[in-house]
């Protein structure tokens, strides 16, 4: 993405943005269905492209890392992970689970909302040693965005 690109707020982009807002953490196809009621001609490609664009411009956020693949963990005990936003590598965090802090937080939440907590997941996002070493051209841009060699990359 060139940095002097002039984005336009088209009707489609506007409606997609509104539907992300009014839905509750919707998936792309949920957004597509909602948008289609207002703009029957819209295509799935437009929805995906706009969700990407809106996320990279910071209007919305993707809730998972971009690589859409399940990962598997041999360690079944409660523990936390680090994810490299450049190479997608996942490592264990060698830090004790904050069960007390987080479970208590969970219980407090459960009492407030009647949401029953069975566990939690904590993940730190950043750059693994190899990637921060190899690539010197990372820099922070705003909050939650990192620029890499002229392109913008979101961590979520």
């Amino acid at each position: 993405m060139k940095s002097d690109r002039k984005y336009r707020m088209t009707r489609q982009r506007q409606v997609i943005l509104e539907e992300v807002k009014s839905g509750c953490h919707p998936t792309a196809d949920q957004i597509y269905e909602r948008v289609r009621k207002r703009l029957p001609q819209i295509s799935m490609g437009t929805v995906y492209r706009n969700l990407d664009t809106l996320a990279s411009l910071g209007f919305i956020r993707k809730m998972q890392p971009d690589h859409p693949q399940m990962r598997f963990d041999f360690n079944t005990k409660e523990h936390y992970h680090t994810t490299c936003m450049n190479c997608n590598r996942v490592d264990d965090m060698h830090i004790e689970p904050m069960d007390d802090t987080l479970e208590n937080l969970g219980k407090a939440l459960g009492k407030l909302t009647k949401f029953g907590i069975f566990g939690h997941r904590l993940e730190f996002i950043g750059l693994c040693p190899e990637c921060s070493e190899q690539e010197k051209e990372f820099s922070l841009k705003g909050k939650n965005q990192i620029v890499k060699k002229g392109g913008v990359k979101l961590w979520n």
Copy 2:
């Protein structure tokens, strides 16, 4: 899954388990590639089926919820989520981010491992009010497994 089912530890299942262990949070296709070097006849279907089975038996863990779809969030500020392991609904946690606690933990980790932290993601897994109300037949089985009407369901 019937509860009196007799699982067998086949050669394929054994090798898949070993390769999950020796890899670093591998994806299904990474496991497939590794296993294929030892069992050239193996098929992708066998790998996926065994990863499911091994996870439901508690030998390994899936690292994300089962639904393989990206979700989008209109709220770009740091905040946490609850995920219902029954209906997959995602809601905001109306609790202040623990930036101090977690960012400090992150910095400590960064110093230890040279992993550069840019942010974190915290998610509570459980049952939303509707699902815990509707379904009385949930019960905890071991750690991280929940039984629902005769079936076993993992939360990750």
